[in-house]
Every structure is written in structure tokens, then in C-alpha cells.
Amino acid sequence: MAKYMVKRLLTIIPIFFGITAIIFILLNLAPGSALDVLASGEGNMDPEQLQQLKISLGLDKPIIVRYFIWLGDILHGDFGRSYFNNQDVMLAVKLRIGPSLLLTGTGVIMAILISLPLGLMAAYKPYSIWDKISNFFALAGAVLPGFFLSLGLIYIFAIQLKLLPTMGMHTGTKTDLIDLIHHMILPASVICFGSMGGMIKQTRGACLEVFNEEYMKTARSKGISEAAVVIKHGFRNALIPVLTTVLMQIPHIIGGSTITEQIFAWPGMGSAMINAINNRDYPMVMCVATILCATVLATNILLDIVYSIADPRITYD
């Protein structure tokens, strides 16, 4: 196991370099270079000033060299400064990551708490009302775009009923929890709805498969309660594939929900990413991408570990 993990970590390092290098190079090839963005902010610059700016930003060196300089910097925790407002990028991200974690995390946890029991019940009682509800949500999640749902919810709950706020995290200078929760209800529901469909489908499918296993019959023949049969033997085994779907949401939680954050003006990573891309603020984009890349790779390792715990048949030798 330990040996496997070391091997796994070693394979992940080149993947990390590979992905970050590709994104770095792509961003530097993009039209509308950073230089143009900066220059336009400074009014008209003569060629000499432009050249100086280029050198000061290190943009005169070959792209590969620049990637390694960037890599050296991030190893010291220095992600550079924003082209847009010259802020330390890492600092800006640190401010954004909390709200994203809070909002998307809440939405995803809500989705887990609803989907797993619903999927289980749907599989346990096919054609029942549970099955119908879960079919509805699975289908709705696949066909109803989150932004349209968001607008609909805003229309109903904010405009018509005047119950809930639609923008940001707080009203004015208020910082209390109730106010925060008020602001979270709509966007978190949209995120929850978006994640539910896949989770319900996955849970239902996994449970249906497990319920047909012979060991379920063995469990019943032992004389333990039906609830114990379904949960201890059925759900416990169905959990193994379901965990993939659930854990795969971690990068999503860290990266935030772009569209939802944008609509509800939520100051998270997703809206930061959109702003950064619109402003061609590449150090910021690179920083978010790098954090996500690290999260994705860490999640993949975590999945391996969780699998080996959840399923004793999996051993990594």
C-alpha cells in the first residue's frame, strides 16, 4: 500500500507539471496579450516604455524559460501579481476561496443528503413514489440549465414574493449568520439541484445492482432486521461506486460554481475566474488553474485511498 502510494505520487508529479505547462503555454499564446491589457490601461506608451515593461514582466524570455521561472516562484508561494489591479494574486484567491467553499460546499452537501437516501429508496421500491421523485430529479437535473433555474427562482422568491436577496453574501455591513443564510438559500439550492441528478442516478443504479446480489439473500436469511439488511449490507456495498461521484465534487467545491456565482454576484472563485478571463488577468487565471489542478490530482489519490478502505478486495500491491 505505502509503496503503491509513493508510486502514485510520483506519477502525479509529471501530470501536474504537464497540465500546468500546457495551460501556461496556452495562456501565453492567447491573443490580446497581457502587455496590450497593461498598455491600454496606461494610455499611449512609446515603444521604449513598452520594451521596458516587457522586460520588467519577464515577457522577453522564451516561453519555456518563463514557465520554469513561474514554477520556481509558485514553489515559494508566489503566484505573481494581477495584471488588472497589481494585487498579490494568492491574496486575492485566499479571499475568494472561503465563500466558494461555503456556497458550493453547502449546495453539494445538501445534494448528498437528499440524493443518497432518495436513490436508495428508489432502488428499494421500484415504481414507488420515491422512484418517481428520483426519476424526476434525475431528468430535471439533466435538462434544466442552472442559470435559467436561477433566474426563475430570483423572479419568484426575490421579485414576486420579496423573500430572499439575490446579490452577494451580506446586506450592507451586516455580518450575522441569518443574513448570510438568507443570501445562500437561492444559489445553494441551484447548486444542489445541479449536483443531485447525477448522484441520484448513480446511487439508484448501484443499489439496484447490489440488491440483486446473493449476499443480500444470505443477510435476510440470518434473521436480522430489514433495515439492517438494506443499510448494512445493501447500501454499504453500493457506496463504493457512489463515493466516486461524491468525491469527484471536491474540485468543483474548491473551484466554485462559475455561472451561479456570477448570477448571484457571489464573491467566490468561480466569479473571480470569469472576471480574470474577461480582464485577461493571466496570473490570476494561472493561479486558480494551478490550485484546481492540484486539487484534482489530490482527489484522484484520495479516491484510491478511500476505495481501498471501502472495498477490502482492492489492495494496491
Partner: protein, 287 residues
């Protein structure tokens, strides 16, 4: 051969009996005619011409069934042209996913070993990377346009197809007829494309239909964010974007609700179509 034919006609009969699939076929036919053919014959359906009389945000009327937008353009025309964008992106980008996913899945499943390890590892990473952010980066690099969307959404969708083909190849490989093909000396490419691929296409068609719906959702989301199809070209996403403006959201539902409803109905139809094909081919298929 007889058996194959019989199975096909049975599947077709089951498909025709499926109410949801029938709805999907009818709805999509009407939509395709309305979006692609109707505007060719009706000159009034011009998405880019401003009405000189009714300049800003007029309500539905006889001339403009869905009213006009901020600069007096006919919203019905824009809705139909937006449909062209969505359907085009929706139908073409999954083809790109197929073009990448099928060979990679075949290679991983047939050769196993190192190619398998590399392809599947990359697929895992791809699958767990929040696709929206990856797409945003790519769009920023290439510049937003319909072509970009088709490419980016298509490229991002390869993992599902590759995994599906890969899984099928693994199970088909075990079967005897592949062994016998090897025995009678057919080469690898022949086995891959003539034996293995046709036998794993059933689930691929089903996934493809689901992917079309997914691509339409992604396209409209990106256009809604303003990083997809760019003005003045219309798309369902940027039509709904107008509702981010409070007065439009509150007072002019005809400007944004129809686009949303069409997105829902179109993706719903492609889902029904996929389900119909799945149930017709094999009701026990796990997709």
C-alpha cells in the same frame, strides 16, 4: 443474419411504441424545420434588422410575435437563429468527442498495458477537472465564437465515450468470435473496426444522444456568461442573458422565458431519444 435482422425490426417496433421517443422525434423535427428552413422563406424573420418604428423592447405584437429587443430586433427571429446555434453546437461537438474517444477507447481496451494506463489516467484527471473552468480557459485562449464552442465542448467530451468503448472492448475481447477472428488471421485494425466497434456501438448511440443535450446546456451556459457565441449573433444563452437586467427579468418574460423553455424541451427531447434507443436496443443497458 436472420437473427440480426429480426432483432433490428423488434428494436424499431419497441422504439416506435415509446411515447417519449415519439414526442422527441416530433418536437425535434418541428424545431429543425422552424430554425433552419422557415427563416429562408419568411423575410420578416431577420435577426439582425432593427425595426425602425418599434425601437426598444416592444411587447409581442402581430408584426413581432415575441416583441423586439433593446435595439428593436425581432425576438422570434433571434430565437430561431439561436436555435440554429444550439442545434449546430449540440449535434457537431459530440461528433468530435466520438472522433477522439472511439480510437482512444479502442486502443486502451485492445492493447491494455501502458497505453491503457496512460489513456485511462488522463481520462480520470479530465473527468474530475471542473469542465466549466477548463472550457473557460480554452475559450479565453482561442477567442469566443461558435466554432470555438464546438471544438472545446467536443474535445472535453471525449472521456465518457472513451471509457464506454474501453469497457465494451474489455467485455467483447473475452468473447470467442474475437478469438476465432484472430485464428483466421485477420489483422488488428480489421478486428478493431469490423468486429469490436460495431458490437459496442449500441451504447455509444445512446450516450451520443445524451451528450447532444449536454452540449446544448454547456453552449447556452457559456453564451449566457458572455464567453460563448458573441453579439450580434443570437443564441439562446445570450437571449436569456438579457434577463440579468432587472426590468427585463421582471417585466418582459417574453424576451427570455421562450429561450429557456426551448433549451429545456430540446435537451429533454435528446434525453428521451437516448432513452428510447436504449430501451429499444436493450432495456437492461446501464446508462
Amino acid at each position: 443474419m436472420m437473427f440480426e435482422k429480426m432483432k433490428k425490426s423488434q428494436a424499431w417496433r419497441r422504439f416506435k411504441k415509446n411515447k417519449r421517443a415519439r414526442f422527441a422525434v416530433i418536437f425535434l423535427s418541428i424545431e429543425i424545420i422552424a430554425c433552419f428552413i422557415l427563416p429562408l422563406f419568411l423575410e420578416s424573420l431577420n435577426p439582425n434588422k432593427s425595426d425602425p418604428v418599434l425601437i426598444t423592447w416592444s411587447a409581442p405584437s402581430v408584426q413581432h410575435l415575441l416583441g423586439t429587443d433593446k435595439i428593436g430586433r425581432d425576438l422570434l427571429a433571434r430565437l430561431l437563429y439561436g436555435g440554429r446555434v444550439s442545434l449546430t453546437v449540440g449535434l457537431i461537438s459530440p461528433m468530435i468527442s466520438l472522433a477522439i474517444g472511439i480510437p482512444l477507447g479502442l486502443i486502451a481496451g485492445y492493447y491494455r498495458g501502458i497505453p491503457e494506463a496512460i489513456i485511462m489516467r488522463i481520462a480520470d484527471v479530465f473527468m474530475s477537472f471542473p469542465s466549466m473552468i477548463l472550457i473557460l480557459i480554452l475559450v479565453a485562449v482561442i477567442g469566443p465564437s461558435m466554432t470555438t464552442l464546438i471544438l472545446v465542448i467536443g474535445v472535453m467530451g471525449w472521456t465518457g465515450i472513451a471509457k464506454l468503448i474501453y469497457g465494451n472492448v474489455l467485455s467483447i475481447r473475452q468473447k470467442e468470435y474475437i478469438e476465432s477472428s484472430k485464428c483466421i488471421g485477420r489483422n488488428t485494425a480489421e478486428i478493431l473496426f469490423k468486429e469490436i466497434l460495431p458490437n459496442s456501438m449500441g451504447p455509444v448511440w445512446v450516450t451520443l444522444s445524451f451528450r447532444v443535450g449536454g452540449a446544448i446546456l454547456q453552449e447556452s451556459g457559456l453564451s449566457f456568461l458572455g464567453v460563448g457565441v458573441q453579439a450580434p449573433q443570437a443564441s439562446w444563452g445570450n437571449l436569456i442573458n438579457a434577463a440579468q437586467d432587472l426590468p427585463t427579468l421582471m417585466l418582459r418574460p417574453w424576451a427570455w422565458v421562450p429561450a429557456g423553455v426551448l433549451i429545456v424541451l430540446t435537451t429533454l427531447s435528446f434525453n428521451f431519444l437516448g432513452e428510447g434507443v436504449r430501451d429499444a436496443l436493450d432495456p437492461k443497458m446501464k446508462l
